[in-house]
Symmetry: D2
Subunit: 260 residues, 4 copies
């Protein structure tokens, strides 16, 4: 029987596959904090051809995503499938004279996002992520407005890897760089019959429909945790900068690749 | 040493206790579906002195809560503590000639909510709950507006116990009854040295600051799952009615009790 | 309708209740590490009438439990209900001239255990716990034998609270004190209509059928993590002692109480 | 910088990668149940070149694994990394005149296993899995001996997908076929810049050090759950056969591949 499915598991219908092909659509609530790190430490995490931002600019980004898929209605329909949280470190870098972003470490709390990310070259691991979400009424939470404090944290392998806070002061007049840098990923899939990888290439996402709501900003707080499974501590000592809270949306149509 | 703490664990400072005393504040996003069940089945789940609504009116309510506590700043500050999801069955009932609500089954995904609920007489169990949340931008999710479909489900012990959908058609001109019925709970804490309970009493919450946003409504869909740990199936066969999506907030100041 | 159930939820049959009354039976695999702490720090966690062991003796105990219940067949039959992991701190103490044990902090990964524990006065919180389990064949794990290293860790609220290791050297000629100290608990259930607790009493478990297998012992390693929700750090600086790996079983018939 | 790591995330040291290359070692406790399904239904899940066993023989296998990795000490040392549960459906099939096994659906509760499996062509998804484990002492659990009942279940996306029970009667005189069939997997990694997959090939594991302990057997019970994310229901109606409880160990050295 010819089996179908963009990913495993395949079947005669294709409907068991974890991931359907793009287009994929994303609508998210973002909490981000800028920081600067020693450029030598950043360099240890950048692939050949990419140099650290000379000022050592970096960001930590938390996102509470709703996602959908043109080829799989269940992603939008089932909140247990399309919704997830994500937390990542973003190194601001330069490649071929252009500003780009590189994600050395990222955690998500969803199987779909984990595997969809690996296909794009996001080095996703599983984590437990919590983020302040604004409320519309009452005293149980905070509004997305000046004076509110938004917090977020991520845990992986039972260790707190990221803890961030932003105290909102005003609406910024431009987007944070963390929202605008085009990301350069590495797609990597090992072979099982030889040491060389089966797939090893740079990936540049084809993004469309980018939208951003008002960007609330104020002083940030950030702690990177020490953990035996990640080299987060290579990025210290940190100098923490501004934080941001905003809505963001875009679609991924696929990507371009370049051999490594 | 005199140890402090409204609940366990107690310590010399009291800061380890899981739950601090009220006031507690709640701000939530609600997805609810009305249904009617055989009144005999409802009666099997109601304590003495309470009769089923003669029409067999019942509701299922999902809530995405942010909560805070006047005596514990961490509940608001840490999104991993104050935020949680909840799903419950609500029987519309009559007690002493008045309309009241009774919650025979409820699931939450938070330790704090589980124990805070047990203290109030909510019969909370742990569950995994997912709810559609509206998005502000883009195509990754839906808006809280006519035409959108909101879904929610709850799983306990690896079994899907509740699955609900509401397709929004219009803004209702009044609150759903599920939001207005005063709840009558049973506080129950066993003794360990004798068969009779140490605490067994009715509890009526002291609620203040009740607010409700626009109530979006439309046809509902609901499935109650069979599970060996709950008597949900006693409530079938169901007749499913309207669904509702709205924001809600209130504060709990404590409660009154009445001996059983 | 008269509703039944030793705990909530109650119903006409009683079969929805989370916890059935004792007898309860426990069979577990234990990883424990002794340590000593400053006696002043221990005193901050002991109730009136209990004094710290003069040497500052304490233990950390991890347990991989299978449990069953005489009045609920599902606990034994469903591995998702009766099985769970537990991790706790044990203070060696003196009460009325006798050696006793006191558990100021404990984490479990099961709803049943959380609530069954609260009823006995164990101050249980939810946590994520991992423990080395011995294997019978092959190279995927270690044997319960000299030379093997057993590890265990517990995480609560996204923070590692306990990390322990024991390197087995020999079979001990007697039980570790952590297995033999009778525990003194505090049962505490708040009132909702007044500040004073509804239940506040010491609890002494009625234990029968205690069994212990060979106790493998060797040097221990232990780290208590700093966390905003527990006063673990009050117990430092630690002096870490021996570790133990053994099987243990007993039954709980109920308990005796004493007013506080 | 040249970045290292057999999988993502890569870094200058390689120690952040989720998966290290083989050899990998596995020691597990198995609960399995044989069943037969309509051969047409099995054919819908088999790739070209493979035919269903003419009797419709299939199995469901649950495994409680400890694993280790020659190139990553942390897998053995950290019980939160190397240990996991797995549940899968195994179709008995024929390829090129030989008996082989094919795994159309499989769930695990570990990130490491999920990705290590995808590399081998196991179509792993995340799930919640519980299995009876035997106890050494006391009444909290059962012994691996005649008269004991072992149970296991798996949940994915909040739906119970597999529920199995084996009541032990005797020690079998040979291995169950589920333990001996060589598995044929499909390695599949999508391209992001074109519809055709980047990797699509059959994989045959290179297994060594296979060991099996005494095989306890008796009548089995099995329920395959309906779920919108898997085609389990294609395999009904089932005829359930014998069940097995045994220890098993082996090592994976890598694999051979064949183009598709």
């Amino acid at each position: 029987m010819t089996l179908f499915g963009w990913t495993l598991p395949q079947s005669s219908t294709g409907r068991s596959a974890i991931v359907a092909p793009p287009p994929w659509h994303y609508s998210g609530e973002i909490i981000a904090v800028d920081f600067s790190a020693p450029v030598e430490a950043m360099a240890e995490l950048l692939p050949e051809g990419m140099k650290p931002d000379p000022e050592g600019a970096c960001s930590v980004v938390f996102a509470d995503w709703c996602s959908s898929s043109d080829h799989d209605d269940r992603v939008l329909a089932d909140p247990g499938v399309g919704q997830y949280h994500e937390a990542y470190v973003l190194l601001h870098a330069i490649r071929g004279g252009k500003n780009v972003g590189r994600v050395p470490f990222i955690w998500v709390d969803s199987e779909l996002s984990l595997l969809r990310g690996q296909i794009q070259g996001f080095p996703k691991k599983l984590g437990q992520i919590a983020m302040t979400r604004p409320v519309e009424l009452g005293r149980g939470g905070v509004r997305k407005a000046a004076g509110s404090r938004f917090s977020a944290h991520a845990t992986s392998h039972g260790r707190r890897v990221l803890t961030a806070t932003v105290t909102l002061e005003r609406v910024a007049d431009r987007l944070p760089r963390a929202a605008t840098l085009p990301l350069v990923h590495t797609r990597l899939f090992p072979a099982i019959d030889r040491p060389e990888p089966a797939v090893h290439e740079l990936q540049f996402g084809s993004i469309t429909g980018f939208e951003c709501g008002p960007v609330h900003t104020g002083p940030g707080m950030l702690v990177l945790g020490a953990i035996e499974y990640e080299e987060l501590d290579e990025l210290g000592p940190l100098k923490v900068g501004a934080g941001y809270v905003f809505s963001m949306a875009f679609s991924v149509l696929g990507g371009k690749v370049e051999a490594l």
